[in-house]
């Protein structure tokens, strides 16, 4: 078979470029470790891969459960035409989130451990379980599309008969883990800046996910309508915008109320970096979309709706990034800025999502289910050259992970990360202060005063304090205690100094009086 590349249009080139960078970054992460690919550190263990790929990714998929509940539980069948594309978005979203997690996790092959190793006190445990279960639910919700595509009547009937319980389980799971992503941060009251920390974080994550999920429906419908020349369900989307206004209004009200009760309003205008980011988030991402959606001129045309949705999404993204990064910076004591490799991986994941969605929309009955594809469904084999390119790149990615992991694990690599850590926390090395020479009080029979010098007895670069202290000689705690006495009788019995000064380890005390006793009169 002759291998031929797809026509190099602008977008295929951009896409290929992003993916090549992304694949290189993934290889670096698995070969050299997280420290080589990212700017993560002990001070800042979670970066943009968690902040964007996970927190934002899961939130943007929230349209799936909101629309599913609207159509199947509240029985508002008018929304049915958009149900499939939102469920597909959600399903893709979760698959990509799981894919992103594999790159961020230290031991991705242990990702299944929460199945058998339980800790029900852990928020992360709950998030893990919910994501696993909900991805399964989304897959089942998506199955009818596949069954229709391949005209499998019986399985289609079976799966349709369990739609309602499936949707109810999906709504419950989504409610739990959308909010749980916020609960993750409830345990860091003194690390997360008060502009964002609150015991109500789970509620904020849940409400804002609903707004973002709905905005995503508008966003996507607009883009797919343009891309595929399909009719936009305008009246439906306009109604969604009204719901978004309600949700955002509630969100804003609860947040301001809660901030005032926690005394956090004082930080809003204090001119700090945090206050700036907070004002941008709330101003551009909450207030502006409310205003846009409430202005009839804007609300009544598709471009206006799209604009409002874009700002709603922007506000959502900023909230998650502010919680994960901006709000955590001050307490961490280091400024975290993602490396180009972190950005490349994130961009690759977003690009993958767009590409897969496009293919699905093209070859599966997603947008209009009544007249799925008429008599002749488009042949799947015509996925085309770009399809093969995409599969090829996916193969390269898997290979990069395997090679990186395989070789990276086997080989020792001297990556000088400690230097970076050291310079981050510059500090003088230990300076061991030796005690001043100790002048012992002379006994009656003493032939001369004895002065003990630590300098003569130890190597300052490797002080073996333990050899003498506190077993043989007590130290003087608190600089207050009395100095213990040294007695020649004991020395002769191989005690005190005599333990080492025995003729073998050091000179013998018995016939070397003048070495220690300095004669006064002579």
């Amino acid at each position: 078979m002759k291998l031929s590349l797809p026509k190099p249009t602008f977008w295929t080139i951009v896409l290929a470029f992003i993916w090549i960078l992304g694949i290189y970054a993934v290889f670096t992460r698995f070969y050299y470790g997280l420290g080589a690919a990212t700017n993560l550190s002990d001070q800042f263990p979670w970066g943009i891969w968690i902040g964007f790929d996970i927190l934002v990714g899961v939130g943007l998929a929230a349209g799936g459960f909101v629309v599913a509940a609207t159509v199947y539980i509240f029985n508002l069948k008018t929304y049915k035409p958009i149900a499939r594309s939102t469920i597909l978005t959600a399903f893709l979203g979760y698959l990509l989130v799981i894919g992103a997690l594999m790159i961020d996790l230290g031991k991705p092959y242990n990702v299944w451990h929460p199945l058998i190793m339980w800790n029900h006190h852990s928020v992360m445990f709950e998030v893990g379980w919910c994501v696993m279960l909900y991805t399964t639910v989304l897959f089942l919700e998506f199955l009818p599309v596949l069954f229709e595509r391949f005209r499998l009547e019986r399985p289609l009937r079976i799966i349709r008969s369990i739609t309602v319980p499936l949707v109810i389980v999906g709504v419950l799971l989504s409610t739990l883990h959308q909010s749980s992503l916020g609960t993750l941060y409830v345990i860091v009251p003194d690390k997360l800046h008060p502009l964002w920390y609150s015991g109500l974080l789970p509620l904020y994550f849940f409400i804002s996910a609903i707004a973002a999920g709905l905005a995503m429906v508008i966003f996507e419908s607009y883009l797919s309508a343009r891309a595929f020349g399909k009719e936009l369900e305008f009246s439906l989307l306009a109604q969604l915008s009204r719901i978004i206004v309600l949700v955002l209004g509630l969100y804003l009200m609860v947040r301001v109320q809660d901030m005032s009760s926690r005394g956090a309003l004082q930080y809003v205008f204090d001119g700090s970096q945090e206050s700036l980011y907070f004002l941008l988030e709330v101003g551009l991402g909450v207030l502006l979309p409310i205003i846009l959606f409430l202005t009839p001129k804007i609300r009544n045309n598709t471009a206006g709706l799209f604009l409002g949705a874009v700002f709603t999404l922007l506000g959502f993204v900023m909230h998650r990034l502010n919680v994960a990064i901006t709000g955590m910076t001050r307490s961490a004591g280091v400024e975290y800025v993602p490396t180009w490799m972190e950005l490349a991986v994130t961009a690759s994941i977003v690009a993958a999502g767009i590409v897969i969605f496009r293919y699905a929309a093209k070859y599966l009955p997603i947008f209009s289910q009544e007249e799925a594809f008429g008599v002749h469904p488009p042949p799947l084999v015509s996925a085309g050259k770009s399809g093969r390119l995409a599969m090829g790149l996916l193969g390269v990615l898997l290979l990069a992970i395997l090679i990186g992991l395989g070789f990276g694990w086997m080989q020792e690599k001297p990556v000088d990360l400690h230097l970076r850590i050291e310079s981050a926390v510059a500090q003088p090395a230990s300076t061991l202060e030796l005690p001043l020479p100790i002048v012992y009080e002379m006994g009656e029979a003493s032939p001369g005063a004895v002065t003990f010098s630590h300098e003569n007895h130890i190597d300052p670069s490797a002080p073996q304090c333990k050899t003498c202290h506190s077993g043989i000689f007590k130290m003087r705690p608190l600089k207050a205690g009395a100095l213990g006495s040294v007695q020649m009788d004991l020395l002769y019995e191989k005690k005190q100094c005599g333990i080492c000064h025995n003729g073998d380890d050091a000179f013998n005390v018995e016939d070397n009086c003048e070495v220690c006793h300095v004669a006064i009169d002579e």
Binding site: V123, I187, C465
Partner: protein, 247 residues
């Protein structure tokens, strides 16, 4: 097993770093890394700040945030008092690092397959055999000592009572984060020594548990509610379809 603990009296520390070296020795950690900073290869450090030598290690909280955070129970608070780690269970999510109020767990950022690194109170090498940890047994001045938690608290109280001028009247770790197994005495206020100043006095896991414990209620109430809504709406539509005239 008695609940073991460590009391570190910063006024008696001469900064010799014998504890840090002994720790590396017994845990077979790389020796070429600095001793003043907790890292993946330094589980016990001695920081020098404002003329004070400050021993740093895992605080071994009574109710550790890391243990509650770990999704796979790779971290465990043993009856002996030590918070230990099982690398075989760990999946590398690093939530323990985020959750720890003392920023103790460290990571192997330069490894393909990294693990969490932190002091485990010499649980395997000493504690479980009835011996004391390498660090305290290495201390030449007795600045850091090993013992039973209640006894060490009494000892610390006695020292403060005996030399009220020499100490700030504060046993760090007595109540911090709900109490820790590693306790400190100091002549200088702890906030000036880089100890987390606004640490809670209550245990951190309680914060998330307050939310998590509501889940069964949310699931049962939510499930019934959704099912009820669906049933009511569906029935009304059905009735409408069957008897369109009567509505």
């Amino acid at each position: 097993m008695t609940k073991s603990a460590i009391l570190t009296d910063l006024t008696q520390c001469i900064g010799c770093e014998a504890c840090a070296l002994a720790c590396k020795e017994i845990n077979e950690l790389p020796k070429d890394t600095p001793l003043h900073l907790l890292t993946a290869s330094t589980w016990s450090a001695v920081e020098h700040r404002n003329g004070v030598n400050i021993r740093r290690q895992c605080m071994h909280c009574e109710e550790p945030a890391c243990v509650s955070a770990c999704p796979v129970a790779a971290l465990e608070k043993t009856a002996s008092g030590a918070v230990i780690y099982d690398a075989g269970k760990c999946m590398g999510c690093r939530y323990c690092m985020v959750a720890c109020p003392f920023a103790v767990p460290k990571y192997e950022w330069d490894k393909s397959i990294p693990t969490i690194q932190k002091c485990i109170l010499c649980y395997e090498t000493a504690l479980s055999r009835g011996a004391e940890p390498a660090c305290t047994s290495a201390c030449p001045t007795g600045a850091t000592i090993f013992g039973e938690r209640d006894a060490l608290i009494r000892e610390a109280q006695n020292r403060i009572a005996a030399h009220p001028d020499a100490y700030v009247n504060h046993i760090y770790g007595l109540r911090e984060a709900g109490g820790t197994s590693v306790l400190y005495l100091s002549a200088v206020p702890f906030a000036e020594l880089g100890f987390p100043a606004n640490i809670m006095e209550d245990a951190y896991p309680k914060l998330t548990w307050k939310v998590l414990s509501k889940i069964p209620n949310i699931v049962s109430t939510g499930g019934v509610l959704l099912l009820g809504i669906w049933w009511i709406i569906n029935r009304r539509i059905k009735l409408q379809d069957d008897h369109p005239s009567s509505v």
